[in-house]
């Protein structure tokens, strides 16, 4: 099925509630292999919730989520399968502070993929080199700067060799001068053809790498378009207002 449609992720009429609160309303989204999507919108619009549903960190109540041909439901086996395919980078890195950088990167390959330790370490070093911090491999996360930690978090996800990467506001918790080093790594990753879904307020990043920009508000996708048309010619009033506030300063 994946081959026919070329979609690696499909969301069909997805609805989600937190108790009484309707967070996601009839979300429909198709993501093609290799596509880079930037999701933006005001806080509380459901953008983080949407991408967290894709690897079942949040549960959706209605509709279908299909990742790489696997339907996401409450079946633990399917959840496990999808999480192996989907990497995630968090706002607050969520590195494991009791393990070294290298151990952070090898933990999942060793235990989830049953990879021999030597091989896992080799792969981890390869990705740490790619995010340009191989020399920090034996330090603990607490000894690194925020930008370095986020790059470790990206390397940790890549070690599982995912087909899709989800980014949940990866630069929001960083000092301004560290944002660039993380964005550079993400741009490089995009250049290598990784499928990426990225919740971010970095509009420069969106213009540079996104194939499609999605604007969400109040749990709905209001507008989606190529970056050029999205930024220069927004269709809805809500998008115009948002863009004027984000780009206005």
């Amino acid at each position: 099925m994946t081959q026919e449609t070329g979609n690696i992720i499909t969301l069909k009429n997805v609805n989600k509630w937190y108790g009484e609160f309707h967070v996601l309303k009839d979300i429909n989204l198709d993501v093609k292999m290799g596509e880079k999507i930037v999701i933006c919108g005001p806080s509380g619009s459901g953008k983080s919730t949407m991408i967290r549903c894709i690897n079942h960190l949040e549960e959706h109540q209605e509709g279908d989520i299909i990742v790489d041909g696997v339907i996401l439901n409450n079946d633990l086996k399917n959840i496990g399968k999808i999480r192996k395919e989907v990497g995630m980078v968090f706002q607050h890195f969520n590195l494991f502070p009791h393990l070294t950088v290298l151990q952070n990167c090898t933990l999942a390959p060793i235990w989830v993929k049953k990879m021999p330790q030597k091989e896992a370490e080799k792969i981890a070093m390869k990705f740490l080199e790619r995010v340009k911090i191989p020399d920090q491999a034996n330090k603990f996360p607490g000894q690194l700067s925020g930008g370095q930690q986020q790059r470790v978090a990206i390397a940790r996800s890549l070690c599982m060799n995912p087909r899709v990467m989800l980014f949940d506001e990866p630069t929001s918790a960083l000092d301004p001068e560290m944002i660039k080093e993380v964005l550079d790594v993400m741009v490089e990753l995009a250049g290598e053809g990784m499928t990426m879904l990225c919740v971010t307020h970095e509009m420069g990043f969106a213009k540079k790498v996104a194939d499609r920009v999605i604007f969400m508000d109040a749990g709905q996708i209001i507008e989606e378009n190529e970056p050029e048309s999205f930024f220069n010619n927004p269709q809805s009033e809500r998008t115009k207002l948002f863009l004027s506030q984000v780009l206005g300063h």
Partner: protein, 364 residues
């Protein structure tokens, strides 16, 4: 232009260094401070001097009957005559080597596992948790050619250690499982764990021991009634694991949600997440609480005296009732207090050492 020659360093004034300097700075820096210092010295003097002269200077150390206690100080003869009873209870004298060997092996394992420089920790831990319990059981109880010594003859410090160690070693894993169960997303599992924990925590240990000794036999029909010590142990383990569960839960709650999500997103299974990511971090937070629970368990073992088992306190209590040795409760209870204190204090110091050691490296 003359060359700059630094002034030679002069020794600091006497008020800044040495004993006098230190005392002036710390003990007599102000009038209230000086008053508190003098008062403390006075109180210590008036308590310690009589105590020391009673306990050491005027004490009687050697002898075999109370007639040897003539000097008016402490009569340590009472302790030395009864020493074996206090250590082993009514365990037969020609088999003392068995508890001794068990204890020496225990110390050996503790040293192996608690001193970081000694290698092969994994093997040590596996041996300590599999081979050692069997060996200790055979040595203490009997079988395999060793004479069987029924548990009602066990007593003294040996019984205290058996109860405390088994209680500790079994209660920790049960406590971890209960704590995980209490935070489970499955309502049935969660409810069972909550009921279990709240039941055992809500009942005094003394009641549990009574129930274990009086009520449990009612459920076993005929000859299957379990050993009295075994019944007490089951009660103690249940009670302690409920407390342990709450300590572990506190540790789990102190971790940020991000740690759980980070592990989930990498595809780790529930048990991998718990044992590789969550518990190692929570353990660090839990150490003071766990050791606190262990210390209180160690002391609570004395309560088994109410179901007729005599730990070290029970043995001393019994010895005090002996007409031949009436009148030496101070010596007896001091001895018990000191013995308990040594064990509890070592546990407390080791926990502080462990906290400091685990703290380096993973500061956030």
């Amino acid at each position: 232009m003359s060359e700059f020659i630094p002034k030679p360093a002069r020794p600091a004034p006497a008020t800044e260094i040495g004993v006098i300097g230190w005392a002036r700075k710390n003990l007599f820096s102000s009038i209230p401070n000086a008053a508190i210092t003098l008062l403390t010295v006075y109180v210590l003097w008036s308590v310690l001097v009589p105590f020391l002269s009673w306990a050491f200077v005027n004490a009687d150390w050697v002898g075999s009957t109370r007639a040897d206690c003539t000097s008016g100080g402490a009569c340590w003869v009472f302790i030395s005559v009864r020493f074996n009873l206090f250590m082993y209870g009514f365990y037969p004298e020609d088999s003392y080597w068995r508890p001794n060997l068990t204890f020496i092996l225990l110390i050996g394992f503790l040293i192996w596992l608690s001193i970081p420089r000694i290698p092969f920790k994994k093997i040590g831990a596996i041996l300590a948790l599999t081979v050692y319990p069997v060996l200790a059981y055979v040595l203490l109880y009997g079988g395999f050619g060793l004479e069987v010594i029924p548990t009602h003859r066990w007593g003294g410090l040996m019984l205290t250690l058996v109860l405390a160690l088994i209680g500790i070693v079994v209660a920790i894993p049960i406590g971890v499982i209960l704590a995980l169960g209490r935070r489970s997303e499955m309502p049935v599992v969660r409810m069972v764990c909550v009921i279990f924990i709240e039941f055992w925590r809500g009942v005094p240990l003394i009641t549990i021991l009574f129930m274990a000794s009086v009520m449990l036999p009612l459920f076993f029909v005929g000859g299957t009634d379990a050993d009295k010590l075994m019944r007490a142990l089951i009660g103690i383990v249940m009670f302690q694991s409920a407390y342990m569960a709450e300590v572990v839960r506190g540790g789990l709650q102190a971790l940020s949600k991000g740690q759980f999500e980070g592990a989930d997103a990498l595809g780790l299974s529930y048990w991998q997440k718990m044992f590789l990511v969550v518990l190692p971090q929570a353990m660090k937070i839990m150490i003071p609480g766990i050791v606190n629970t262990l210390i209180s368990l160690f002391k609570d073992t004395s309560l088994i005296v109410i179901i007729g088992l005599l730990d070290i306190l029970g043995m001393v209590g019994q010895a005090l009732a002996d007409p031949a040795w009436l009148g030496y409760p101070a010596e007896g209870y001091l001895f018990v207090a000191f013995t308990f204190w040594i064990f509890c204090f070592s546990m407390s110091r080791y926990s502080i050492y462990l906290e400091n050691k685990l703290n380096t490296g993973h500061k956030r």
